[in-house]
Each structure stands twice: as structure tokens, then as C-alpha cells.
Symmetry: C2
Subunit: 422 residues, 2 copies
């Protein structure tokens, strides 16, 4: 039989985590009853308060994941939707070691421990699928694994965190960071502690996964330079507009002639770039292949239902015996520092000679000024103005900015970000 045949007895699903995504997964499984799949167990802390009446009575609710992992448990596939390294990682390891396949949306676990877990799965004849771990409802992972494996992908870039995109696109419309964050928290788009999102760590984990699948290099996520969006201010959007650009949190990795480069950071994006078109909680991924050129994927990257679509699609694949191709990858380190143009915002006490002093400090690092922008109508004792510079290394720029920060007219450390070129 071809591997796509559905096995005679349905695969039994044990679901851990009945939150937004988990309940959406259960809803789709209950409503559409995909062939070859049956939900048997739901585990959640204090499960009593989670019970809903639309789940079939045959499904057993439990507080204990052990009830899903026991050898006698009627579970062939563990769906892990709790997230985080612990205890989720432990459950996933136990399931795989017992020969149960795992479907997860846990980007952190896959970014940090994916290769080890994949080996474990192979050793125990099980599958590990995580199509929901990056860009939720957008089939980026299946697209790369099943549709772009014939290419050699040299660059991946995108908007991988819906919370940051929501915040930055609202700031673009004139709102203030603190107000937008509070609104995002109120709507459930941002956590009470938003550090994972606004600090760039969520996007970093997703970028590490995409690098492994698309570019076939495995890097420790902590090697990827990660800058927060918290330092972007309203005035930056005003200057961005003058530069016919906007600001987005971009995750970007590239195989360059001098090595591997990767960064997660707010960046200045020209209006003509597709990355500037993404608003609200949308996600977007652009892959660049040696043979096929650019492919753009976009849509709703997060939220219960889009993410649930990715989880259920993985389950449907397993029901048809379709696992993942073991595309080889190599351990790698971030070694390249590409020369890119930068945007720098200064806040100074005005006096003659400021531009000359700044230009001098930049010139000492062989960095050329490109444009100087200053919005009229501001106060001489606290004057924001912006400089753009021609392509340079981030380390050279950091040295120049450190020298400038020591100058007497500088009120706060300058804020800089890459200008995205193509």
C-alpha cells in the first residue's frame, strides 16, 4: 500500500492544554471528524473548570498528563499545546520514547531541542510534527518541507510575531507604545509580561526553526542577536514616514559569502516592500531560493483557530501515514555581520557643531552619512533628529555611537535600527 492509505483503526489523540488553541483543535476535530482520527483524552490543570458540553462523552477529561502517557492509555498521538520548555518537554520526550507521535505548537521547545527530539522520534518509530510552531495558520513549515525542498534557500525573513506587528502598526497610526501595549493586553494579543514578544525572543525561536528547515543550519537560538521593540517611539514613525518607510519587527537570516547572519530587531521598511503591507496581528514569511526566487506567505499567524488549523492538518497528515522528510541539517554558528544601512535617532541639547561632531565620530569608523532629518517645531533643549548612514557593520556603528553618547550635547543613548534593503 502507498503510505498515503488511512490505517484501519483510527489514531487516538490525547490533547494536553485546553486553552485557546486546544479548545479550537477539539472544536474542529469534533465538528469535522477527520477520517482516521479520534479524540480520546483531554488533560489540563484544574480540568473541571475547563469542561465544555460539546465534547463527546467518550472523551475522558483529566488533570494528569500521566493518564495520557501511561502505556495502557488509549493515546497514539500526543497533542502538546501547553508551551514552554518544562514540563512540556518532559511530556514530549516521554511520549516519543513510548513510540507515540507528537504534534505540537511549541516553538521554544522545537527551537532549542528540535534536533534531539527528532532523533528520539526516529529511534522510537514515532513522528514529531510542529507545523503550528511558526506562523500559526500560514502553511510556511509544510510549504518549505514539502514544496521547497527542491530549492536551496539562502535567505528567510519575515514578521513572525503578531503581538509586535499589532503594536508597531498601531503606533504607525499615531498611538503611543504604552497605550497600544495596554490595548493589546486587553484584547488578549499580549501577555501580562510581554517580554517574550516585545523582547524578540518569540520571533527568535521561530527564526531558528525556519533556519533549520529552510536553510538547513541549526543554531542555538541565543546566538541570534535580538533587540526589543520597546525602544521604538512615536517620533520614529514620523521620521519613517518622511523616508517613505514604516517600522516592523523583522526576523531575518541569510547565508552570506562570509558566513551565516541572523537578527531579530525593529527595522525601517520601505513602503514598497511586502513586509510593510502586513498590519495588525498578521504574519509574513519570505523565502529566497537559489532556483525559485522569492516566495511570500502571509496570513493570520496566531490566534486559536488559525493555529488549530495547523495542528489539525498535522494530525490529518499522520492519519494518512505522512510524516516529515528527514531533511539533513548541519550545526552552525552566526559568523557574519552584513554591511547594511542604518537609521539613528539622537536626542540632544541643541548647540552649534553637533552635526560636525556626530559626522566626525561616524567618519572615524569609516561610516558615511546619508541623510539628516529634523522635524521642525521642537525645542532646542531636547531636540530629536535623525541620521541615516550608508551600509556599515553593526559593530563599527556601535563603536561610533558609544563615542557619540559620551559627547556633552547627547541627552539619551542614540536609538538605531537597520534599514531593510533588498
Amino acid at each position: 500500500m502507498p503510505s498515503s492509505a488511512v490505517s484501519s483503526s483510527p489514531l487516538r489523540i490525547g490533547l494536553v492544554g485546553f486553552g485557546t488553541v486546544g479548545s479550537a483543535v477539539a472544536r474542529i476535530l469534533t465538528e469535522s471528524s477527520p477520517v482516521g482520527l479520534v479524540l480520546t483524552r483531554i488533560a489540563n490543570r484544574s480540568v473541571a473548570r475547563k469542561r465544555v458540553d460539546w465534547i463527546p462523552p467518550s472523551v475522558i477529561w483529566t488533570d494528569s498528563v500521566d493518564d495520557l502517557l501511561a502505556p495502557s492509555a488509549p493515546v497514539d498521538i500526543l497533542v502538546e499545546l501547553v508551551g514552554g520548555l518544562d514540563p512540556a518537554g518532559n511530556w514530549v520526550r516521554r511520549a516519543l520514547s513510548a513510540g507515540k507521535s507528537v504534534v505540537t505548537a511549541n516553538k521554544k521547545l522545537i527551537a532549542f531541542h528540535g534536533p534531539e527530539l527528532e532523533s528520539l522520534a526516529r529511534a522510537h518509530n514515532a513522528h514529531l510534527l510542529f507545523g503550528a510552531a511558526v506562523a500559526g495558520g500560514i502553511p510556511v513549515i509544510p510549504g518549505i518541507e514539502h514544496g521547497l525542498s527542491g530549492d536551496r534557500i539562502t535567505r528567510v525573513e519575515g514578521i513572525l510575531n503578531g503581538t509586535c506587528n499589532f503594536i508597531l502598526s498601531a503606533m504607525e497610526s499615531g498611538s503611543d507604545y504604552a497605550a497600544v501595549l495596554a490595548d493589546a493586553q486587553h484584547r488578549g494579543y499580549a501577555e501580562a509580561d510581554p517580554t517574550e514578544d516585545v523582547g524578540g525572543f518569540d520571533a527568535r525561536a521561530k527564526l531558528a526553526i525556519l533556519m533549520r528547515l529552510a536553510m538547513r543550519v541549526h543554531v542555538a537560538p541565543d546566538e541570534i542577536e535580538t533587540r526589543p521593540i520597546t525602544t521604538v517611539s512615536a517620533v520614529d514613525f514620523a521620521y519613517a514616514a518622511e523616508l517613505n518607510s514604516t517600522i516592523r519587527q523583522i526576523a531575518r537570516a541569510e547565508i552570506t559569502p562570509t558566513g551565516l547572519a541572523a537578527v531579530v530587531s525593529p527595522m525601517l521598511i520601505p513602503r514598497r516592500s511586502p513586509l510593510a503591507w502586513s498590519t495588525g496581528t498578521e504574519n509574513m514569511v519570505i523565502t529566497t531560493g537559489a532556483h525559485g526566487g522569492d516566495v511570500v506567505f502571509s496570513g493570520h499567524g496566531a490566534g486559536g483557530h488559525p493555529t488549530a488549523v495547523a495542528v489539525v492538518s498535522d494530525l490529518v497528515n499522520l492519519a494518512h501515514g505522512l510524516g516529515r522528510a528527514p531533511i539533513p541539517f548541519a550545526p552552525a554558528h552566526i559568523s557574519a555581520e552584513p554591511e547594511v544601512p542604518h537609521y539613528i535617532r539622537f536626542l540632544v541639547r541643541d548647540r552649534p557643531g553637533i552635526v560636525a561632531a556626530i559626522a566626525g565620530a561616524l567618519a572615524a569608523e569609516e561610516i558615511n552619512l546619508n541623510a539628516i532629518l529634523q522635524k521642525p517645531g521642537c525645542c532646542a533643549d531636547s531636540l530629536p533628529f535623525v541620521v541615516t548612514v550608508e551600509p556599515c557593520r553593526a559593530s563599527s556603528l556601535a563603536r561610533a555611537l558609544a563615542a557619540i553618547t559620551r559627547m556633552d550635547f547627547v541627552l539619551t543613548p542614540p536609538f538605531d535600527m537597520q534599514i531593510l534593503e533588498k
Copy 2:
């Protein structure tokens, strides 16, 4: 073993058709030597003139596809890149009947005979993969099959023909249809007989395939209303710009409350729609899911190398035992005629009362006028002007336009197209 393991002896590939795509496939296979795959045979008419020196000497060139299909031939997978219903369909049937898997980019064959060929493949334990049949290098088919099977997709729309998109986006920049077509033919983007492309038949076949995979309905392609782009003229782009819109060939299918609707036609596209951003030979597909919302895929839909990426990706999937999930679909008919707004361009000999006469004919079909646009500076004896109307059925509009065409001031039959709403 999980189905993703690579079998011990490599799968032997016989390639039929050594044109632009075929040679790009051979180039990628030769340069990147994917694990588990080996090219053994290349067949092409008058193969001697096709020979190139970079193909390994172990590969045998032949004029005859029989050399690939014979029971003794060292071919496990037939890669069919000739296209058309005959003789390609015959080769594909013979291969599948012999238990050889088939990878093809042949949209026409798959659109008209896909279900029959899939049954044949299943009956003989073979696989039929056609990821390259729609949108070439953009992984729309793998994305839908592996990443969106957990959703219920209710609408598919997109730009599926790069030739038409090249022509229309060049006309948007001010060129004339005939000149652009000649340029497209010169660049190799359009055939000497461009009817398949500009008539909409190529996009129609691709839409039929997407409807089956995404919406799980199989319709005979000839049921899909198909209008050519040849009737779009330069003046339409001038009016489109006034309406903050442009014109693209759109393929669109939707499950509506009153049945299934599908059409391939030039349409007026608001600038804010992602479909308006596609230029040159780019393709774009937007799926709308009940759970996951809109997903946008875009990139290079045609050309040798992008299409070859899709073919090689299918081969890599087969090398890992990954076929397609037999997602069920039902035979269906186009039965719905959605009410949509329309753009209508008239060419008239000016005289008093024209607008009243046109408005009267439209009102007789209960169609409401929305806007009347007339660019200044034209001649009273051959005056083009444009009317937009509120949502109406195409059949009502056709009756109204037939009545108007009979009026004495009308010089040529009016040109109408849908205005894309969302």
C-alpha cells in the same frame, strides 16, 4: 520504520520532455544529488539536438518514451514535462498502470483527468504528484494539502497565469495590448498562439485543480466561465486609475449559500487588494478558510527554475515515502451566480439622452448605476465612457447590455468586467 525513511536503493527517474522546465529539473538533480533519487533516462523528440554535456554519462538519452515505460526500463518514477492531454496522458496512464509513480506539471491533464488518474495510481500502488501544476515555484499545492487540510476552505482566488499578469501590468504602465503581447512572445513568456493564456484556459485548468484540492469539489473545467483579456484596452486602465484600481486576470471560486461559483476573467481590482500588488509574471493565490481566514501565497509562478523546484520537491517527497493524502472530493457543478458590482465601458456617438437610455435599460433589469466616468478631451463621434453598477447578476447585466447594444448611438458592444470586492 516511519514512512519518512529513505529506501535503501535510490528511486530511478525517467524524464520526458527536456525543454525549459525539464532541463532545469535535470540541472538541479545533477548539481544537488538529492538523497534517494537518481536520474536514469531522458526522453525527447529528436533528442540528439537536446543533448548537453553536464548530464552524467550514466543517463541514457532516447527519442522514445517506450524506453522509459518498458517493464525492464530502470525507471521507478516518470517525470512528465511535455504537457497537454495527448500523448502525455497516455504515457502517464501507462506508467501508473505499471506501478511507476508519476510527477508532472501538466495542469491540463490533471484538471480534466485528475480523479481518474488518482484512482489508477491507487489501484497500482503508485503515486501521482503534481505540485508544479499550479503556480510553479510557489508551494500552493503542498501548502493546501499538508498545511490547510485541517481547515474548511470556502474560497480560492488568485492570479494563476503569469503571461496575462505580465501583459496587464505592462498595459497598466501605458503600453498597448498588441505591443505587450509581441514583447511577451519575444521574451518567451507567451506562445506563438497565445490563446491558452490570454483566453483564460490555462488559469481555468489551474482553478479547477485548486477547487478540488482546497474546496474538495471536482468540476469539469469547461463549466467555469472564462473570459479573455484581449478585450481590455488602454482606456480601461485610465478609468481604473480614476477608480483607484487596476486590472488583473483573476481566477476565483467560492462556495456561496446558493451553490458553487467560479470564473476566470479580467477584473477591476482595488489598489488596496494584495491582488493589485502582483506585477510581471508573478502569481498569487489567496485561500479563505472557515477557521484560519485568509492565507496569501505569492512568488514566481512560472519559468523553468521555479517550476523545476516544485518538480524536484515532489521527487524528494517520494524519496522519503511521502505521497499525497487522499483528501475526499465530490463531483459538483457551477450553480451560483453571485451578485457583484461591474465596470462597463461604452463607445458611443455622442448625442443627448445617452445616459438616460443606458440607465433605463439597466433599471429594467433592476440594476442600479453607481458612478459615471468620462475622461475629457475625446471626440463626440467616438466617445468612450464608463459606468459602474451596484452588485447584480451577470445574466441580468448581459440582458441589459444586449438591449443597450441595439441602441443607435452604440458603436461597439460594451465591455464589462467584475469589480472585485472582498
